[in-house]
Amino acid sequence: MIYLQLFLSFFKIGLFSFGGGYAALPLIQNEVMTYHWLTSNEFTDLITISQMTPGPIAINAATFIGVKVAGFMGAVVATIGNILPSCIIVTCISYLYLKYRKLDTFQKILKTLRPAVVALIATAGLSIMINSFFSNGIFGVSTFHMQAVVIFGISLFLLLKKKMNPILVMVLSGFLNVGYMFLTGMF
């Protein structure tokens, strides 16, 4: 039953992504790989689209994967699955907070989670990098894209040293590749 599968997968993603933003990335990748909902290229496209549009990555992924796997209803089910853990947990904590005004144990636990979350984002990021450097993520001389490595290097420089806006950097990297293809006569 595809709807139930989508619901449960995105429920898990909602329940275990701590720290917002990219914390959901490794979890989404995990579910996508397990059920073969997207190819690694489509997954990277999804992250690219998420970066370019407003909205949390997990909600974008729920909609994108839901539509692709089971149409409009799939998107609705996946999105509800994704926000349900938040709705339950955050409401309970807010209720307890407004009643007792205490938060510290929870925040201390979160401090220990953060290093793990960074490591998991690194793993997911690494597979996205490999996918862009080599066609379909297969290592080899014939699948290697030198220009992708150059674009990656330029982008990283602009982000870390020039503190450029990530959306701008991504638009630029898209145009750089189009320019490269044009110059090498691939169009």
Partner: protein
Amino acid sequence: MKENKILFKLFISTFYLSAFTFGGGYVIITLMKKKFVDEYHWIDENEMLDLVAIAQSSPGPIAVNGAIVVGYKIAGIKGIIVSVLATILPPFIIISLISICYSIFRENIIVAAMLEGMQAGVGAVIASIVYEMGSGIVKEKRVDHVFIMIISFILNYIFSVNVIFIIIGCGLIGYFETVLERKKIS
């Protein structure tokens, strides 16, 4: 009647924030504070700081969690429904439209080249985020945290241990550390 007016205002403002905020949950939550504390005076400043802390430390997307705490504070369960709906509708609509066009656009060679270049760009965006978050953790100078980071990476990347087990494991370590700290103090 007055309640309906508040709910309507809540819907419009969260919808607007969700549709036009680029840059993720941390940005949106700052804008929520501006709107509901500084402009509408619906929530008091100190309380908002704690509500933000709840939204950031709970699992799930921070923008959704932010909508829940704000909606709950302003109008209870009804407020939650209204603000959460307003938060998820914009990305839901935008991505639905993109998914429909995606397969058609992907066939176009210029769009494909553009997306391929952007894949290298998004790799760099994630690398820079990992670098910044990672160096933040190293600067804390807590050996246990650096150790957790390295072990988590090895377990996940080399041994393909499921992400969920790693998160549960580290959560338990954090819990026991807090309990031990308390015992030391008392």
